[in-house]
């Protein structure tokens, strides 16, 4: 033990003399291992760690698979009566809950906030065994069809909207005209299963009865809705596949009955899906997490190569010292132990830094990746993280120590002493050095290039033209705070009044009674009257001012008129993509499309296509070849409750201001949402922006690591050649001679590295051609050139910088043994 302490003290003392070396190791290993711990913890959480619910292995989500006539999947969403039917049947599940997600305004609250709501049956929190901070969860008296208005709050809502008021229970909140009594507050550590959308937190829980579905939707088997969910504990003796077999006929038979009258659904059917909750929550995130881990492991490998170089160089440097130790009786094992003392000190410091970095990484992920990755709120430094940290420390300390001591030719140590010729000391051989430089360059080139490409793609999506403008445009949606919504006739004069007031606002330049393209379209089934072909384009209501305001050009035909809207004319404007789908030549003016009702819609105009970022095109049955997203527009009704406001530049309007304005016209109306189109755009581009930032950071990091690595090798290489440099200077070599010589010597290795990267790419191309092929265009040429230039610059810097301290001093400095 005493020897061990002494050895560590000695190692510490010798490290203290090399702050540059220590700092390089610390930063390189600390940063990359921090990223590694982060990625490992994330992967463990997502892939291995069970959900924090009792019986989580029996926790399943049932989904309605809507299957078309050609057995293709049309969607995964329930019809309202289908969901209720399944819930009431009580089949296959020991206990089950249904829910409907929504967004609502708490009208009774001063600031009238918009909150995420979930309308649930009482079993949900029972199944999840949700911990509570205050009060109770819903009970049988609040089950379906009891119409008992109670509410539960999330912990954050309680804290933020109600200031953590301890007397919150029994208080009332008003949402859409219903006054709910608060009966419970969930605990801070309650973890909500993210079934619909990653990162969505339900702020107010309400009984299922009060969900926003209208009377029509509650009865309609033809209307599917993505926010309806079914979750339950599967019966112990029922397997996943048995459940599917049990539920499919049960649901499908009832559905067939329900849609028997609707010819559109001819040949369609429902097949149930039953998936573990964990799988539903994980979604696409599994591959993101694994990619992240793979990327980080790549980084660790480069870092490891870099640090290996440094340790080898250090051994070479300590050769003489070790020779003296060997001469006075140190065995190979002694030398290894001394080296291990040094590597373990370094790794210990690195892992401490890594833990700090991992902790900050969790924080960053929770702040910025909450919408991309599920369960990030559960991330913390846990035993797995610490276990990995210990393992990594031990493995790397042993590895570096072993690597360093393996370099030592123990038998040759004594000869080192005897032949004290300074020029002929044992060193990292030229070959080893060349191989290291070449591998470094190859790895760095590949990684920098890959990162460049990702970055370029992300930036391209971010900068892709939308085909419409978002400048100064905001969408206003109204909230009606009463149970029964007003009829069209009733709302027309109210909306007219509201519009009059809005237009009178000095900040408002123009107004449209329709939502922005970024607020979404909905899928609608249409039938071409001429040939009975069916289509499912994206549909949206628009008024006569819509296209003008967003500057989407009308290519052919006419715009909607106010008269069209007043008279309820069945007119339609389609985009180019849909026009092409309907008719190969795209000449579709006058074509009639039916929505199922008696009067078909007539196409009166064609507008240019637009691109909405983040919207993936749905391939239409795979039949028609895909061109763009097909869209259709119908004239919005005069009672429509969504508006686009174009504000004068530099002006703004607040939510409160609008709320007051609405109340003046009709006190039952409040602001549901008021968002600028640019904000929505940023949100939609979130994943691209995240990718861009991540890859930019990663590219920077790779570059830094590659730089450090190259610098490390080249610098030690130069240091080892110090006496040679001195000798050359003594016989008349000028600075230029020496710089040229070092660059020439290294150029070969760098070239080999470049060729190596090409080989790596070729291998990747053979292995992953389907991913890479679309990527190989002439456009990569400038990126290849940029990568090569960058790497070359780093190399030149790494050649010159270590050299400068020798060539800018009198030759005697390089020739003398000491500094």
């Amino acid at each position: 033990m005493r020897i061990l302490i002494r050895q560590h003290k000695q190692a510490w003392a010798s490290l203290k003399k090399k702050p540059g070396f220590v700092l390089t190791v610390l930063m390189t290993m600390g940063i990359t291992l921090g990223a590694l711990l982060c990625a490992i913890t994330l992967n463990y959480l997502l892939l291995v760690e069970p959900l924090p619910y009792p019986d989580q292995d029996r926790l399943f989500v049932a989904e309605h698979g809507v299957t078309g006539a050609k057995k293709e999947t049309k969607g995964l969403a329930f019809t309202y009566p289908g969901l209720v039917h399944l819930y009431k049947s009580k089949a296959a599940f020991e206990q089950a809950a249904i829910m409907s997600y929504g967004e609502d305004v708490i009208v009774s609250h001063n600031s009238q906030p918009l909150v995420n709501t979930a309308y649930i049956t009482p079993e949900l929190h029972q199944i999840l065994a949700s911990p509570l901070a205050l009060g109770r969860m819903f009970e049988a008296s609040e089950a379906m069809d009891t119409h008992n208005p109670v509410a539960m709050l999330s912990y954050n809502t309680w804290q933020q909207e109600f200031n953590g008021n301890v007397d919150i229970l029994e208080q009332k909140i008003n949402i859409r005209g219903v006054s709910y009594r608060i009966v419970g507050v969930l605990a801070e550590h309650f973890i909500e299963p993210e079934l619909e959308e990653i990162g969505r937190e339900t702020q107010v829980w309400l009984p299922f009865d009060f969900n926003s579905a209208g009377e029509g939707q509650r009865q309609s088997f033809g209307n599917i809705s993505g926010n309806l969910k079914f979750i339950g504990l599967l019966n112990k003796e029922v397997s996943q596949s048995q459940a599917v077999q049990l539920l499919t006929p049960l649901v499908n038979d009832r559905w067939q009955e329900g849609v028997a009258e609707i010819s559109f659904f001819k040949g369609w059917s429902i097949d149930m899906r039953v998936r573990p909750v964990k799988e539903v929550m994980l979604g696409q995130s599994e591959s993101i997490a694994i990619m992240l881990l793979a990327g980080v492991v790549g980084l660790v490998l480069i870092a490891c190569a870099n640090i290996s170089n440094l340790f080898m160089a250090r051994t070479a440097e300590k050769q003489r010292q070790m020779a003296i130790q060997a001469a006075i009786g140190a065995t190979k094992k002694h030398l290894f132990k001394a080296m291990l003392a040094e590597t373990s000190i370094l790794m210990f410091m690195s892992i401490i830094l890594a833990l700090v970095i991992a902790k900050s990484g969790f924080y960053i992920m929770q702040q910025y990746l909450g919408a991309v990755l599920p369960r990030v709120n559960e991330l913390s430094l846990n035993p797995i993280t610490f276990g990995c940290a210990v393992l990594v420390t031990v493995v790397f300390a042993l590895f570096f120590a072993k690597l360093s001591t393996r370099m030592i030719n123990y038998r040759a140590l004594n000869t080192t002493l005897q032949s004290s010729g300074k020029g002929s000391g044992l060193q990292v051989s030229k070959k080893t050095r060349q191989v290291l430089i070449a591998s470094q360059v190859a790895l760095a080139t590949v990684l920098v290039f890959a990162n460049f490409s990702l970055l370029k793609d992300a930036v391209k999506t971010i900068n892709a033209p939308l085909g419409f403008t978002t400048t100064n445009i905001s969408t206003l949606r109204l909230n009606f705070s009463s149970t029964d919504s007003p009829s069209q006739e009733e709302s027309i004069p109210i909306m007219a009044g509201i519009m009059e007031k809005l237009e009178a606002l000095p900040q408002v330049e123009s107004l449209s009674q329709s939502g922005s393209p970024l607020d979404g379209f909905y899928l609608r089934a249409l039938t071409n009257v001429a040939n009975n072909e069916r289509y499912t384009p994206f549909l949206k209501g628009a008024d006569q001012r819509y296209f003008n305001m967003i500057e989407q050009p009308l290519l052919q035909g006419d715009n909607f008129t106010r008269v069209d809207r007043q008279d309820g004319n069945n007119v339609m404007i389609v985009n180019q993509a849909f026009a092409k789908q309907l008719k190969a030549d795209g000449d579709v003016l006058g074509l009639q499309l039916s929505m199922g009702g008696p009067d078909p819609h007539k196409i009166i105009g064609i507008v240019k296509d637009i691109a909405i970022p983040g919207e993936t095109a749905i391939e239409d049955d795979g039949s028609a070849e895909y061109t763009g997203v097909p869209r259709a527009y119908v004239a919005s009704r005069l009672g429509a409750q969504t508006f686009m406001l174009k504000l004068k530049s530099g002006q703004s309007v607040s939510r409160e201001q609008l709320g007051k304005l609405l109340a003046e016209v009709d006190s039952r109306y409040a602001v549901f949402s008021f968002n600028s189109a640019d904000d929505i755009l940023t949100q939609r581009l979130f994943s691209e922006i995240t990718t861009a930032v991540t890859t930019a950071v990663l590219a920077g990091l790779v570059f830094l690591l590659a730089g450090i690595g190259l610098y490390g090798i080249l610098s030690y290489g130069t240091q080892l050649r110090r006496f040679e440099l001195g000798a050359r200077m003594a016989i008349g070599a000028t600075k230029q001679h020496l710089v040229t010589m070092i660059i020439n010597d290294n150029a070969k290795s760098v070239l080999v590295g470049f060729i190596g990267s090409v080989v790596l790419f070729a291998l990747a191309y053979i292995g992953l051609s389907e991913y890479i092929q679309p990527f190989l265009t002439w456009q990569v040429l400038p990126m290849i050139v940029a990568t090569l230039i960058l790497i070359t610059l780093v190399t030149l810097f790494a050649c010159y910088w270590p050299l400068r301290k020798y060539i800018n001093k009198p030759a005697i400095f390089s020739l003398r043994g000491s500094d």
């Binding site: 020029g423 006496f723 200077m729 003594a730 016989i731 008349g732 009198p810």
Partner: protein, 234 residues
Amino acid sequence: MTDIKIEMKNIGKVFETDDVETHALKDVDIVIRAGEYVSISGPSGCGKSTLLSLLGLLDESTSGSYVIEGHDVSHLSLDEAAHIRNEKIGFVFQSFNLIDEISVFDNVALPLQYKKEIPTDEFIKERVEACLKMVEMSHRADHKPNQLSGGQQQRIAIARALVADPAILLVDEPTGNLDSQSGDTVMAVLAELNKNGTTICMVTHDARYADMAKIQLKLLDGQIVNDEALKVAV
């Protein structure tokens, strides 16, 4: 006057380390003429190596003037000093300082590569072979330096020092790393060279070898104590 190869006047060298000033050389005057064989000796730490590195323009003096073959070299940039070293000075170090990765032939040819105008390949070949012959190492031209004995390596180093036809050969303890027999051979080579006209200035500890020089300078605490150079001149 033209036969004066080297003329140092009032040369001083001060090393400043942290807060200590070491006056390694004080007011040193040296004149070396063509064909002379000068030895510098003295106790350890008296400034021999320092003086030699100033003579060889490996380092800059703190004060004084220095003229080589009529050129004032007291104040030169690093690159100018490199050119003068290349053209006028041949170095032989105690620790050989040969480059292991290239052959003996290439080691010897190296100073010619650093000339302002690189000579033709034929000239280089001729010259290198001639120099190797002078030190009797022609048969080892294709070997690598680390395949040779210490004495052989030192003879290669001498050949390298001669190849650019320098004004003077500066030699720092040439036998320090050698056994006495190899040392004797090396000293014999130097004596032979001097006989054929090469000007030599050698630092040595060994009184036996110092006696081989015609002019013997003694250094003590950074100063020359006997001035035989002047005596001979008179």
